[in-house]
């Protein structure tokens, strides 16, 4: 069964992303939305942890939430894929289970 993990909390403030990455199986997908998109930034105190995560899971970030926060693809770690709202829906359809780490 394939799983899509959704994280909407800032990784600098909450432990949701940490927990998610701890329990995410290899080849599952992590979608970063709302304040969760900050986890995708390069050059942060968390970038190294995210770089390691990107070796085992696929990471997506919701572009509308990224743009709202003044960021774009050029600020992101290599390997993070941007999706729009349609892409969000496609991800939920493409995976058997969706887990939101609130």
């Amino acid at each position: 069964m394939t799983m899509l993990h959704i994280v909407n909390k800032s990784p600098f403030e909450k432990t949701a992303l940490d927990s998610c990455l701890r329990y995410a199986q290899q080849d599952s997908a992590v979608l970063l939305i709302e304040d969760g998109v900050y986890a995708a930034l390069r050059g942060t105190s968390l970038s190294e942890k995210m770089r390691r995560a990107l070796e085992t899971v696929k990471v997506y970030a919701l572009e509308p939430d990224l743009k709202t926060r003044g960021m774009d693809q050029s600020r992101l770690l290599d390997g993070v894929e941007l999706v729009d709202y349609g892409g969000f829906v496609d991800l939920t359809v493409a995976h058997d289970i969706v887990q939101s780490w609130l």
Binding site: N8, K9, S10, F12, E13, E34, D35, Y38, L41, R42, G43, T44, S45, S47, E63, P64, D65, K67, T68, R69, G70, M71, D72, R75, D84
Partner: protein, 134 residues
Amino acid sequence: MTDETMLEEDGHSGGVVKKFLYVNRRAPYGSIYALESLEVVLIGAAFEQDVSLLFLDDGVFQLKKGQDTAMTDMKNFSPTYRALEMYDVEKLYADRESIEQRGLTEDDLIVPVEVLSRDEIKDLMAQQDVVLSF
């Protein structure tokens, strides 16, 4: 007390002036804190108080340039930070460590701020009459 003596003591005709520090620790948009803080800051300024703003932890994300809310249809309140000067809110501070840990530089910020070290922030907080945290 007559108006004249109040003027001498406070330097303002309206009454006591206190030093207010607004501590902003939340990212914008994910919660209502950042927007509500701005509202309260403007109220403080309207009452001619001695207002300072400090951006700490995820609060530094509030100042990120280039916020574009067209796709989420949210209210982009970031231009308000540039307008604070018109309300005589000119003391803006940000924590150096918070900026660096988030991969930001001073060039990323929508308004000029005084970037402070942890020790300088301790002193800034100790100098206040009132500290409000958002």
